[in-house]
Amino acid sequence: MRFFFLLGLLLWLGLGASSWAHRIYVFANYEGKEIQGEVYFNDGRPAKAQIEIEADGEVFKTETNTQGKFTFTLPHPAHRIKISAYAGMGHKATVVIKGQNAGKPVSKQPAPGQQTPAQQALGPSWRDIFCGLGYIVGVFGFLAYLKARTYGSKKRPEN
C-alpha cells in the first residue's frame, strides 16, 4: 500500500512539470524548391537536430537553429522528399513528403498562435497509461497462472 502511495505521489509530482526527452517530432512543409521545418521534443521544446534531406535520391544535410527550425532550398523540385532529424542520444524522427503535387504546398503552415501537430503531442494520455498498467497486470497474471499450475502439481501430486 505504501508502495502505491509512493507511486501516486510520484505521479502527482510529475503533473505539469516539463518533460525529459523521449522522442522527437519533425514537421515539414515543402513549396517550390524550399523546405521549411521544425523539430520538437515530445514536450514541445525545440530540438537542436541534424537534418538529412533525401530528395529523389539526392542527399542534403543541414541543421536546425536554436528555435528548432530549419529551411533548405533544393537545387530543383523533387517528387519524394524524406526528412530525417537526429537530435543525439538516440533520438531520431523521419517524415516523408511525397508528391504528385510536388511543387505545391503539401502541408499547411499553422496560423500564428496555432499549434503544430508536434506541439499538440504533449505526451501520453491517461488512457494510454492505465491501458499499459492493465496490460502489465494481465501479462504477469497470465505468467503467474502458468507457473502456479506446474508449481501446484509438483507440490500436490495427484491422488
Binding site: H22, K92, P124, I129, G132
Partner: protein, 197 residues
Amino acid sequence: MHISEGVLNPPVLLLGGIFTALGTAVGLKYLTPEAIPRAALLTAAAFVASLVHIPLGPSSVHLVLNGLLGLILRWGAFPSFLVCLFLQAILFQFGGLTTLGVNTFNMAFPAVVMAYLARPLLNKGTRGALVAGFLVGSLAVFGAGLLVALELSFTGENFRTAARLILAAHLPVAALEGVICAFICSYLKRIRPEILR
C-alpha cells in the same frame, strides 16, 4: 535513453535482441510464482516512472528504476523491462519495436550485474543495505548510459562525446535514483529481509 528506430545498425540490434532473449529466458526461470506479483508491481512502477517528470534545476528528470528492479528481481528484471518497454513502444512510441532488444538489455543488464556485485553488502545489516541500495540505484543508471553511448559509437557517433553527454544528463537522475533505491532497500531489509536475498 530510449533509442529510436533507425538509429542503430542491424548487427547491434540483432546482438541486443539475442542478449535480451537469453536474459529473459533466465529471468522467466528465476521468477517463482511467489515472485511474480512483485515483478508485476515493479514493472508497473518502471512503466509509470518514465512518464513522471520531476523538475530539477533548469531541466527535469524521470526515474528509470532499473537498479531497484535488479536488486529485487535479479534476472527477473529482463522480462520485466521487456514488457515495460514493449508497452511504452506501442502506446507512447518511446523507443521502438526493432530497438526493443537493445533497450531492454541496456536497462536490465547493468541492473543485474550491479545487484550481484552488491550482494555481499546487502548481508551487512541495514546500513549495508542502505549503501548497497544507493550504489546499485545510481550505478545501474550510469551503466545503462554507458551502454547507450557504446551502441551509438557503432553508428559513427564519437563514444567519448556521447558518453560524456549522456552521463552528464543522467547525473541528477543517478543521484535521485540512488537515494530512492537506498531508502527502499534499507526499508525492505528491516521489514522483509527475505526479498533481498
